[in-house]
Amino acid sequence: MPLPFLLPAFTLSALVFLAPFVWLAGTSLRVQAEGSLLLSDGVSLSNYRRLFADPFFLEVLLRTLLYSVGTTLISLLIALPVARFLVTRAGRMKGILLALMLVPLVSGALLPSLGMLHLMGPLGVVNGAARLLGLPTVKLLGTPTGILIGLVQSFLPLMVLPLVNTFARLPLDLEQAAASLGAPALAVWRRVILPLAMPGIVAGAVLVFCAAFTSFVTPQILGQGHIATFGTVAYQQAGQVLDWPFASALAVLALVMIGLLQAAVSIGSRLARRREVRP
């Protein structure tokens, strides 16, 4: 397509995505004047120095990474059989089930989190049922477990959708061929389905990881303010402490980490593809 026709799209992208990011990156290099909300003159890396020097922020970073990896792995474990079922067994129900899967995604982060609040609270459904059955109650709100459950619940569709897509394109013949060659179900999964579904798994993992890493509402509500993650700390800094430069530095760090992850994935998959076309 000739360049002039692409110009409006380029301009819009530049204005909406690039400009704020540049502004964000610029802000992260500034510092607030002592006792003031105004930015002092000059640029420095002091925000970043503070980020890496303060053990609190390193802990937050580490914790957020842990939650994101955990969310990704748990989502993958749940999504594999679910996506598989949707593709091979659901039949006419597939459309309805997929639509139901999408509900948490399209209803925003807030509503599902409030729902989870009712499920997991001390007087919520889970503990109510446990009490009725005479079982010990569990503290979920304000604990890592609660946040993890909430994150998985929010971002599971991001894993299921790409997997449904990949599974739908896997010919059934391949699995039958593997079975006829002596592969039990587990070996069929390990040797045939999973390797061939790898593009879908990677896509889903990247989506869930990024969503979990940058999530704010879920850890804020389900963490009850007891657990600091990247999202909640950035919100605190920008919305409550009003230290915009430092919040910007946090945001830039998150973006850089996500960028590094994407780069690693794309290099990895390019290497994998090279293996397939070797002479």
């Binding site: 391949l174 061929a177 006829s180 060659l181 061939l196 397939e276 076309v277």
Partner: protein, 361 residues
Amino acid sequence: MKDYLHIDEVAKRFGDTEVLKGISLTIGKGDFVALLGPSGCGKSTLLKIISGLETETAGRIRLAGEWLAGVPAFRRDIGVVFQSYALFPHLSVAENVRFGLDMRHMGRAEAEARVQEALDLVKLDNLGDRMPHQLSGGQQQRVAIARALAIRPRLLLLDEPLSNLDAILRKSVRVDLRELHDRAGTTTVMVTHDQEEAMSMADRVAVMHDGAIEQWGSPEDIYERPANAFIGTFVGSPPASLITARRHLSGGWRIGDTAWTPETTLADRLDGIRNLEVTLGVRAERIDLVAPDAPGAFVAELTSSEYLGGGRLLHFAIHGQRIAVAHAGSVPNPGEVVGLRPRSDDVMLFDVNTGLRIDDR
């Protein structure tokens, strides 16, 4: 071992549709058998049931003395070559062939020797490092066969093995596959809708139609003594032509409105069956062009002719019925009326209503 594979009253229904109506078949060790039939006749379903990839609704199957009911596909030791070949796209040719050996936890050296042997057998010994998508269709098929044979299966199943190959390759692969079978000696069941494939490759052919076996015999049997008119017109190229003849009150026969006096041998056969009407099945190469008034001939009008290299295939019309004749001599002009005389011993007689063959020659 005469009853190496024994299929006993195997039936399959999907909901209300009866795909297989109680199939029984006994196949000897080392045989090459074809299941031949039009699409939808249930032949592929039968193949899937034998391999364990589909479960029968009723009946049972015995392979090498072992009843297979409840034995999952991965424990049956039955090699399957799929119509799509189903090669694992993420594995090299050698890794594909190795797959079944890995599943059997075979040692490295032994497995490598077995892979080499299988690739040698299909003459692909130098392509082990290639990926499937780098191979031609014919090569992919041979990889699929090598992969199935590498596990030294008790039975080899081929699902429409030639349908994804181009016409030229098909003829040579037909010969290759048969030679491969003779070398490897594996009992083989092939599913095909192509009668030429079935007749040229198999020792025995099961002709299937509507979920049942209509005839089970050697290719010669099926060609010479088809069980019914459907098979008569389904096998052989060109297929047999069918003509209806009616007995006349005054003796003799009529085809349409034309009187016809068959030769004595044929007349005796026709008299033996007492039907008032009969369907004659006539093979194109077993009917002669003669003068219109020659004894035993009926008259027909030439409508068109095809040049086939070795001779011609002439198409005649006789009162709205069509008949094909293979002919090597001089060709009459279109529209010309000639005499056609079927060879008395080779005419097949079928019941007009049921289509069943009504005399044994």
